[in-house]
Amino acid sequence: MDMTFAEKILAKYAKLKGVTPGQIVTVKPDHLLTHDNTAAIIQKIKPDLEQYGIYSKSLPIIALDHVIPAASEKTAANHKTIRDFVKKYQIENFFDIGNGVCHQLVIEKGLALPGKLILGSDSHTCSYGAIGAFSSGIDRTEAASILLTGETWLKVPKSIKINLNGKLKLGVLAKDVILHIIGDISSSGADYCSVEHHGDLDQFSIDDRFVITNMGVEMGAKNSVFFVDNITKKYLASIGVSSSSYESIYPDENALYIKKLNYNLLEIVPVVSCPHTVDNVKPVSDVAGLEIQQCLIGTCTNGRFSDLKVAAGILKGKKINKNVRLLILPASKDVLENALKAGIIEILVRAGGTLLPPGCGPCLGAHQGVLAPGERCLSTSNRNFKGRMGCNEAEIYLASPATVAASCLYGKITDPREVMK
């Protein structure tokens, strides 16, 4: 029986010959990702932790990224609890503040590899399909249980095949592609499903694929994946991963999909996701001219070197509009270092940008750029829910780094093609 990517990998981890959608399997993930929420997670299982210990010290990946540096005594105390836990249990993969957003670190440090299974108590854990892993988000309680036992159950998902054909035009980025898809199939269009990407994928770098898989959860997907190709192999080699350390898994030719979606990339234009749902997607031209007070370029969705480079290309030698604040949020320390070396940070700061430490920044609304009532923010992040950036009377629009950079020049939502000609 031909199988999809999700069926193959879950069969492998369940040690079964084959599995079918809807089947419940028990799996042992290669890694369990947690972040600032680790403090709450270990609090839940204190007596069991003391009695039985953790399943293995190589299982957890812990990154402090959500509210860093600590914004209050309470967050500082949480960070301390986590550092003490890491020491006590000799956790092998711990990233303290300033290293970056957890998802970026998991990929950059080679912790997610093709054919691996990773679960994490963060919804954007689905990002690692960018390099051919199966990864999915779970909650804190489940993370606590896996920390103790090393295993959990998963329901084998149905699969959706997305064909991306043709070539993107200048000024249209991976972010526009995924927002276009979500706008098309809705925020629940891939609920419970595994999403596979097929088609003309040579034009999508690992950074681009990361943008697309990262936002899989915004259409309800369980996981979202690009299959290993030369681009994946080159990337992994560049971070020192040898090809013998991973297994590339591909779907069978006659695997069954519940939906096949075809997109002609040539027809996709720069888009913006409007308040307050990610699927409220419109062409930039429909909302062009709308005044904005804050711009954010960064996060786990668009805080990589290539994103900052696109923005610098637009902002080089220019100044942002005086009515707008531009926040620059590199996804990791490595990204920041590379952008510093390439002169990109200098360009962005000279243009008027404020540099934030690598992490989640204002995306989750706890600090570093909370909005005021009546304000409008144009952001490269992944969610525009009401109240997301800390204020329920503010509006968040989502777009590509090119659209955000072009817009901060004018203080108004602007089509990036106007400045990229």
Binding site: I138, D139, R140, T141, A144, S188, D191, G390
Partner: protein, 163 residues
């Protein structure tokens, strides 16, 4: 018993704002902020035994368990929706909280309809109409019957170490 009715895509920020996520995790502290940005009257007036009806994709967004912990703590008997987002759905299982996926029941409900839920047999009645909803698979019922995932895990570990 009151029914609280909401629409599609009720996200985790509406259920419990992100600004509190890293400072509040205890149920007593969660309660006053539940549905704060969606319906400020909810936390003031919700009573033990109330039910929530909603549209598609309830609980979409973050991995955030304060909404489930809070809804359970204020005594919400069940959330009946057309569909749920998956992390929220798993979270409910882990907390032993009941979600009912039944689009027909949501469709049939109008203000004032009498609602009765028979969990054992997977039936929900709206006025005089009765609808079935799928029962949870055996493996998952075991978690719920144990009182939640941590209780289930605790007894599993205990048994394993006895051997």
């Amino acid at each position: 018993m009151k029914v609280w009715k909401y629409g599609d895509n009720i996200d985790t920020d509406m259920l419990f704002p992100g600004k509190y996520v890293y400072t509040i995790s205890k149920s007593e502290e969660i309660k006053p902020h539940l549905l704060e940005d969606l319906d400020p009257l909810f936390s003031k007036n919700v009573k033990e035994g109330d039910i929530i009806f909603a549209g598609k994709n309830f609980g979409c967004g973050s991995s955030r368990e304060q909404p489930v912990v809070g809804l359970k703590a204020v005594g919400i008997k069940a959330v009946v929706a057309e569909s749920f987002a998956r992390i929220f759905y798993r979270s409910a299982i882990n907390q032993g909280f009941i979600l009912i996926e039944c689009p027909d029941a949501v469709d049939a409900y109008s203000e004032g309809s009498e609602v009765k839920i028979d969990f054992e047999n997977g039936k929900i009645s709206i006025g005089n109409k009765i609808f079935s909803f799928p029962k949870l698979p055996k493996e998952i019922l075991e978690i719920r019957n144990a009182g939640g995932l941590l209780e289930y895990t605790h007894s599993k570990l205990k048994n394993k170490h006895k051997k």
